[in-house]
């Protein structure tokens, strides 16, 4: 069997937050014991409410944040404890595309400098060769090579996102974390960018961790989908199956709110409204993290924390005590 490009085991990340100067600093547990793997050429979509730790998970995998626990394996190499110097050769191979195409491009750099910077960092090619490479990359992502000396503020949002993608591709990575790469764009541009990402993936056998809010788009681009709630991964499975037959009560609620293109199916579907607020991540419930809002919660759910386990066959996993029977 193929080795997964990325495999994480029980990954944990929490942030210290100061509430008041007298209290002990509290900890926001942004990512809790998350395990998953992504194969070559595969897209894993990651969905969940705002603040559930999707970005933190993506950034911890790339070691922007030092993980507090668990393991990160990149093509079988454990990079969890790697120093900055040790990470250098791996940084080339795992990259990130950002949500905000305005904030993710240094406004003082020209397009050529932006896309060329990764190659400059690794001392790849001569200056002239780099320029040729940059122009090639610009063509790949659908930008005009003669715009190479322009500044990012001279471009539209969609074009800037293309600049960001070209920069990411400059190092020929194998794995890319796409942190909501389309949510800041116009709807008409969104599909262009998604198509571009799919095209590049097919050409280069890339693996994506695709974080998004828009459930429709995630279903379209992802092979598998992971659902996060309060820093926990509560369900993983084939994209279509997670959509059509969600197992976890939270996924059911989430999917019932997703837009359904088929009006007959839409009418037949019941919308599940969740009661109450998301608990404060400073203070996660003792049992199942979802028990405070779960319409089917049993007394047991408030005591025992469910683990992510095989459920419903075909490689699907969910973390719910009710499924264990």
């Amino acid at each position: 069997m193929d080795q997964p490009v990325i495999k994480i085991e029980d990954l944990e990340k929490s942030f210290k937050v100061k509430s008041s100067s007298f209290k002990r600093p509290a900890r926001v547990r942004a990512v809790n014991k998350v395990s998953l793997e992504i194969k070559k050429g595969e897209t894993l979509g990651l969905v969940g409410e705002s603040g559930c730790g999707k970005s933190t998970l993506g950034r911890t995998i790339l070691k922007v944040h030092e993980p507090d626990g668990g393991k990160i394996l990149f093509e079988g190499t454990d990079i969890t404890g790697f120093s900055r110097a040790q990470m250098r050769p791996y940084r080339k191979r795992m990259q990130m595309i950002f949500q905000d195409p305005y904030a993710s491009l240094n406004p003082r750099f020209t397009v050529g400098e932006l896309i060329g910077e990764p190659m400059e960092i690794y001392d790849m090619y001569t200056r002239a060769e780099r320029e040729v490479r940059v122009q090639e990359l610009m063509r790949t992502v659908g930008l005009k090579p003669d715009h190479i000396r322009r500044y990012p503020h001279e471009f539209s949002g969609g074009q800037r996102q293309r600049i960001g993608i070209a920069r990411t591709l400059a190092l020929d990575p194998e794995f890319i974390v796409c942190d909501e790469p389309i949510s800041a764009l116009d709807v008409s541009i969104q599909s262009q960018i998604v198509n571009l990402l799919e095209k590049i993936q097919a050409e280069r056998q890339l693996s994506y961790l695709f974080i998004a809010h828009d459930l429709g788009m995630v279903r379209h681009i992802s092979h598998r989908i992971g659902v996060m709630y309060l820093g926990y991964l509560v369900e993983v499975g084939e994209a279509d199956e997670v959509y059509s037959h969600p197992l976890h009560p939270y996924t059911k609620a989430l999917m019932s709110a997703a837009p359904e293109p088929d009006p007959r199916a839409a009418r037949a579907r019941q919308r599940i409204m969740l009661e109450g607020e998301i608990p404060n991540p400073l203070d996660i419930p003792k049992g199942c993290p979802f028990c405070t809002r779960c319409p089917q919660a049993k007394p047991r759910c408030r005591e025992e924390r469910p683990e992510l386990k095989e459920a419903g066959g075909s490689g699907r996993q969910a973390a719910c005590l009710l499924l264990e029977g």
Partner: protein, 304 residues
């Protein structure tokens, strides 16, 4: 007969692009320069400052009078063809002395600011980027230095090193960099959370590269504005020290000592005071106008 091909030409590729935004293709430096030039006040400041700097450097060289040459026969004269700004109580040519004084004042202003700039940017940049405990220690040190009034350092240095250009310069620098360090630190702290610095980190950029090429270059606006305030401030501090008599000592002269010398006869010969003070004002206004213009020119988001 002309064929249709001669009437029409094919639409260029870029003209078809709906997302294209028309904008001239300019390098960043030229871009800033052209926006700076559109600001009349800033340009006025630049012209005046350049004129003062050029005169201060070359004026004393071509002047027929040495800055310290006394001539009792022509003391306390008004403006004339021979002495443009008149002469002082010892018959020294005021124009030559003002230019010479401007040279010393400007030199102190620029050199002291350059030192403050380097120390402040490095200190603040490192404190802000490293953060955590190191940042806390570095900023407490700054607080301690800042707690003592700057004048105390200056007077102590005068006692230790005597009244000369160097002690004035060091005196200005002891605590002069602190403001810059604080500005740079807060800039760096807010910029390092931005996605472009995370992007640089993910690419594998070194700390030095992230700090200089990403964080500091984007702090350039506030840094330059603060520099254009630091130069006049240094000039002013030196003038003040010399004016109260603990700055530069005779026969050397700065604009401050010239004003100090004229103080005695202010009621009889006010022009002797007005010339050096006017040059101080001109320099300080010019720098402030330039600072304003640069701040606007450096901020590309202000572009239409």
């Amino acid at each position: 007969m002309l064929s249709p091909d001669e009437f029409f030409e094919p639409v260029e590729d870029w003209e078809r692009d709906t997302e294209y935004i028309a904008m001239e293709n300019k390098s960043f430096g030229r871009d800033v320069w052209s926006r700076f030039c559109r600001n009349r006040r800033a340009l006025f400041g630049l012209v005046c400052l350049t004129a003062v700097v050029v005169l201060a450097i070359f004026g004393p060289m071509v002047s027929p009078y040495p800055y310290d040459g006394m001539d009792v026969a022509v003391k306390n004269q008004g403006s004339s063809i021979a002495h443009w700004f008149g002469t002082d109580q010892f018959g020294r040519d005021t124009f030559t002395r003002v230019l010479y004084g401007a040279r010393i004042s400007l030199m102190i202003g620029f050199v002291a600011t350059a030192i403050n700039l380097v120390i402040g940017v490095l200190y603040g940049g490192i404190a802000g980027y490293v953060g955590g405990f190191a940042d806390m220690v570095l900023m407490r040190i700054v607080d301690i230095i800042y707690a003592v009034p700057a004048m105390v350092y200056m007077i102590l240095l005068m006692l230790l090193l005597g009244s000369n250009v160097y002690s004035v310069m060091i005196g200005i620098c002891v605590s002069g960099w602190i403001n810059m360090a604080r500005i740079v630190r807060s800039q760096v702290i807010s910029l390092k959370e931005q996605e472009f610095s995370v992007a640089a980190f993910v690419m594998g950029a070194s700390t030095r590269r992230i700090l200089f090429r990403h964080l500091l270059i984007n702090s350039l606006g506030p840094i330059i504005v603060s520099v254009t305030l630091m130069i006049p401030q240094a000039i002013f501090t030196e003038a003040f020290l010399s004016f109260i008599g603990i700055g530069i000592s005779a026969p050397m002269a700065s604009l401050g000592t010239l004003a100090q010398d004229a103080k005695m006869q202010l009621e009889i010969y006010p022009m002797q005071m007005i010339w050096p003070v006017a040059v101080i004002c001109l320099v300080i206004f010019s720098l402030n106008f330039m600072g304003e213009g640069l701040e606007e020119a450096l901020n590309p988001k202000g572009k239409r």
